[in-house]
């Protein structure tokens, strides 16, 4: 039942097997410096035959260089974060840098822990979702002395760099479209927001811009946990029971929006004539719904790509000039659930 744990191979083993000094073996394996073709081949052969896998721990300690980039995100179950990861991956793949993911579950204490753990591996850079952090987290980030990119939100003061959209502005933009379309009795549904700062900012932007048009949110409902699609149905049902006169429903994410849409269609409600709908994120899923939901693109892939590019540039040249705050512009997609004026 026990698997024998053989002593892992070292450079020395390859050195002895090939009759070449450890130093030269190291050079061959890293493609550094000039090594004669003959030596190179001897070394490569020996390494392959032995099945040698270099020890990056020792390498990193000796060279003081680590090809790791920490990525700290709140969740993996919300599809938006894997998408950001994809963008990061795409860019890092060509740079020799490797992302290492940490998940915080939206908890500041856990974020502290994750950041601490990551920094203890001395990564070359760190990408962190959100621009709000505990004092302790900020202090660690500042002291780390590596490129830090805060992503997905630019409403605040970044530790170092920030890439993302303004969620307040996104909320305002949607509010303006809602007003322009002539909707007046507006209901809001979303996650409980104490810790989801981006959802909160969208809500604030929305209410602020609606207020300028002389309108207040007529009803609101929050959820946490469970199947978002099902929650969208439930909340929509509950809200329309309570406030049957609503003519517009804004959902803080696409999944609950999709649930709401399916619910209304089931009921034979005419969308967008009787009730208009809009959501947020622009997830791919929406493409398959019976009716296209109005939403806003949160630029997830581009956020990831840009953040990774900044890190890569700064790793390559610590003095590189990079734009400190990159604001991306969410595009509204009107779909078929928002009356056009």
């Amino acid at each position: 039942m026990t698997r024998q744990a053989p002593r892992p191979l070292t450079l020395r083993d390859v050195s002895e097997a090939s009759g070449v000094s450890e130093m030269t073996v190291s050079r061959v394996l890293r493609n550094r410096g000039d090594v004669s073709k003959a030596t190179r081949e001897k070394v490569l052969l020996a390494a392959k035959q032995l099945g040698y896998v270099p020890n990056k721990i020792a390498g990193a300690l000796a060279s003081q260089r680590v090809n790791l980039v920490g990525v700290v995100i709140p969740s993996l179950s919300n599809m938006v974060f894997p998408e950001v990861l994809s963008g990061i991956n795409q860019v890092l793949e060509d740079t020799g840098l490797q992302p290492v993911v940490g998940v915080t579950d939206y908890l500041p204490e856990k974020e502290e822990k994750v950041i601490y753990e990551m920094l203890s591996w001395r990564p070359s850079g760190l990408i962190v979702a959100g621009i709000e952090h505990s004092d302790a987290s900020r202090a660690m980030l500042v002291a780390a002395g590596i490129p830090i990119v805060e992503i997905m939100d630019i409403d605040g003061t970044p530790v170092d760099c920030a890439v993302g959209i303004s969620h307040r502005r996104a909320g305002r933009m949607m509010a303006q479209e809602i007003l322009k379309a002539g909707y007046r009795r507006i209901g809001f549904m979303g996650t409980k927001m104490p810790l989801d700062h981006r959802a909160r900012k969208r809500f604030e932007g929305l209410t602020e811009a609606l207020a300028k048009g002389g309108i207040e949110i007529a009803d609101q409902e929050f959820y946490s946990g469970g199947s978002a699609l099902a929650k969208g149905r439930e909340m929509t049902d509950a809200m329309l029971q309570r406030s049957p006169d609503l003519d517009f429903l804004y959902y803080s994410n696409d999944m609950i929006g999709a649930g709401g849409l399916l619910y209304l269609l089931d009921r034979g409600v005419k969308v967008p004539e009787q009730i208009g709908l809009a959501a947020f994120n622009g997830v791919e899923l929406l493409q398959g719904l019976p009716q296209k939901l109005a939403t806003m693109d949160s630029c997830r892939l581009e956020v990831g790509r840009t953040a990774a590019e900044i890190v890569a540039a700064r790793v390559a040249d610590p003095a590189a000039m990079v734009q400190r705050v990159v604001e991306l512009t969410p595009k509204i997609s009107f779909g078929e659930t928002l009356r056009r004026s």
Copy 2:
């Protein structure tokens, strides 16, 4: 624009600041050995004031222990893998072990690269999705001398341990239900399968068991890329145009199944009377659909948890007796799209 990169703090800095030897500082910071309360507090204070973050690279090299567990999965955009990760996380959280994720995009060459990179960090264990690997990958896994758990598929010979369901059996189980319900003209839709061994095995199990009932797949269609929900619609449309006499559609995953269901409901097709439907995975999303789709649970959370438990047990005690192959049983959920006999 440049951020000064201060020399990172070392144990020595804490030692000097606190007037305690490096060794004792190390002991305090790791909660090892007996240290007087007074010393401990002096050290902790100094460490906190300086903002010291231990260097795990040096620690790992010195102690020959790394609290990392590699997790190799094909994709992050397919929700099933984040769910497995959740299970792994839940268990590892209490053990001091940390998952490190690598993504292969279903490509064997990339899997090799990812495994190689991971092993070069000398993790304490490795969890790999799938039981099919290139010879090179297998060789590395065998030679690593650490606990290896292959997950999500047990139809094959594991390198070390395996946890998951039998996809062949899952395919057979569903076929038996389809036959029992009296469906006869069956269409299959799924991803292109050359590299998705689990989907292929489900397909094989399905056809095999149908054959025993004297039935052959009447039509089939494969896709890759794009929004799965939308693809489900498109494929269903295409297939029913081509083979209007089908009375059952089997989808190799829930997303395309959901797309197909929405399509049929749009068209006013009576499900499951006119056409029966079934899919695979048991994702949460299905809860919000207008009609509950028949599916099978792939036990993702439990797979993750069990794999992590095995790794944790073997890390704690390399001689620990663990079950080599853990077969979980997928539960059929009949939903409302499969006629009951």
